[in-house]
């Protein structure tokens, strides 16, 4: 009798845990497997498809929200999503790297779940923390290529992986130069990369290379994260490119770009 009771209690507890865990069996925090649901794969392409559906016929001026370095600040990220959802004038969101803190699959999954509450498309770039552990593989699986570009309403957005120390490869400046080679056909060009050229991972030579590519191609704005504080500078390199750095999510600030279709971008910060 006693034995049956113990077995019944054990079976009840087992069933309770089995059906309540989102992921019943977890192999390792380092694993590169992502949730089986297809919505967790190729998120970049999914959002580019959503972006393509936006009717831009009468959209002469629109806004883009910039977030950066959310790491594990999921509560602040959720508040940012709520604040941005309330803004009808924001067309989409760019996350400027460090989506994860230790590059763990579980961290990417949590971020993905929180960003699913966003009612607008969002695009990302990879940051140095996203490379940690086996994060590079997870990022590419869950989001997509580390370098890519897209055009929205006559503005070209170039998403550039400029992580040096954690990556096995040097950032592909040839790709960047090529992407910016036809800027004249767009109203504006925005380059997004995690680390600003005056950040810790850039040598003076690479910083000079980056800024010269942007300046020679008449890039309008270069947006970054990584530093965890905000920074705005349009005179540092004595060229026409504006450099903005968005603070980390814990500061409860997002960047806002106001983009004019025929040319011109203004940036500011919004607290939430």
């Amino acid at each position: 009798m006693k034995e049956k009771k113990v077995i019944a209690i054990g079976a009840f507890l087992f069933t309770l845990v089995l059906f309540s865990c989102e992921k019943v069996f977890d192999s390792s925090p380092y694993e590169t497997a992502t949730p089986k649901d297809a919505s967790y794969q190729n998120t970049t392409q999914t959002n580019l498809n959503l972006l393509a559906k936006i009717d831009t016929t009468n959209l002469t001026e629109y806004k883009v929200a910039l977030l950066a370095d959310n790491h594990y600040y999921y509560g602040e990220l959720q508040d940012a999503v709520t604040a941005i959802n309330a803004r009808k004038d924001i067309a989409f969101v760019l996350i400027l790297g460090d989506l994860a803190d230790q590059g763990l699959s579980q961290e990417y999954t949590l971020l993905h779940d929180f960003m699913n509450k966003l009612t607008k498309p969002y695009l990302t770039i990879i940051g140095n923390h996203d490379y940690l552990s086996n994060g590079e593989d997870i990022y590419q699986k869950m989001f997509g290529p580390k370098n890519y570009s897209f055009v929205f309403n006559h503005t070209k957005f170039v998403m550039f992986d400029d992580v040096f120390w954690e990556s096995k490869e040097t950032p592909d400046f040839g790709w960047l130069k090529n992407e910016l080679s036809q800027n004249a056909s767009f109203g504006n060009t925005v380059v997004c990369s995690h680390i600003p050229p005056y950040g810790d991972q850039f040598t003076p030579a690479y910083a000079s290379l980056y800024t010269s590519i942007l300046a020679s191609s008449n890039t309008t704005l270069s947006a970054h994260g990584h530093l965890h504080f905000s920074y705005y500078d349009d005179e540092r390199y004595n060229d026409s490119v504006e450099y903005v750095v968005i603070p980390y999510t814990d500061n409860r600030i997002y960047g806002e770009l106001t983009i004019n279709r025929s040319g011109g971008i203004t940036s500011k910060q919004v607290s939430y």
């Binding site: 006693k2 034995e3 113990v6 054990g10 507890l13 087992f14 845990v17 089995l18 309540s20 865990c21 989102e22 992921k23 019943v24 069996f25 977890d26 192999s27 390792s28 925090p29 380092y30 694993e31 590169t32 497997a33 594990y72 600040y73 999921y74 509560g75 959720q78 803190d101 230790q102 590059g103 763990l104 579980q106 961290e107 949590l110 929180f114 490379y131 940690l132 552990s133 086996n134 994060g135 590079e136 593989d137 699986k141 120390w165 954690e166 096995k168 810790d200």
Partner: protein
């Protein structure tokens, strides 16, 4: 050897001797001979993990060393880990043919992957990252000891546990729930 470390070492040796001397159910082993082999599925130390261990303090403390492996599936990386697993129990229920024993414990899990490190590479300034090659896990479980021979037992067990980082996120953010961070493990010990 530092004094606290020496005391701990003597304590550990005494405990192992004690467990060997007072064990009346099984053949007495030399203190350094493992008293169990273990195989586990999942539980944050590998898809499959296997190792050896010791039952100490009349089987109320189980310490084991496991090698864990996550096989590469389509487009995924294989993962290799080494885990030290400790489980302590405070009670047991002896039934007619078996003994049921709940326990709690932790593992110290070591992995060397692409960007997992114990020491920072020279390009990083001091304090740029915390060590990320080691993760702790905590778990609670229940095992059922079944006699399969004169001196041999099988102990199937089931556990639920989580990882240190996930616990940190749970306590840091109220929007993360326990069912998002806990998962299960199944395993079996062969006690000899």
């Amino acid at each position: 050897m530092r004094k606290p470390l020496r005391i701990f070492f003597i304590f550990l040796c005494s405990a192992l001797q004690l467990s060997s001397q007072n064990e009346n159910e099984r053949v007495k082993h030399k203190w350094y001979i493992p008293s169990l082999a273990t195989f586990q599925f999942a539980g944050n130390i590998g898809t499959f993990s296997a190792g050896i261990g010791y039952n100490i303090f009349h089987d109320y403390w189980q310490a084991s060393l496991l090698y864990g492996y996550v096989p590469p599936k389509k487009g995924e990386l294989s993962i290799n880990t080494i885990a030290i697993k400790n489980a302590v129990s405070f009670c047991r229920l002896k039934l007619k043919r078996n003994t049921i024993q709940p326990y709690i414990g932790f593992t110290c899990n070591y992995e060397t992957g692409n960007n997992s490190f114990t020491y920072l590479a020279p390009q990083y300034p001091n304090g740029y990252y915390l060590i990320n090659s080691v993760h702790l896990t905590v778990f609670g479980g229940i095992k059922d000891r079944i006699r399969i021979g004169k001196n041999n037992f099988l102990e199937p067990y089931i556990e639920t546990g989580t990882v240190d980082s996930y616990m940190f996120y749970y306590f840091h953010e109220h929007d993360i729930h326990l069912n998002q961070i806990f998962s299960m493990a199944l395993g079996v010990n062969y006690v000899f």
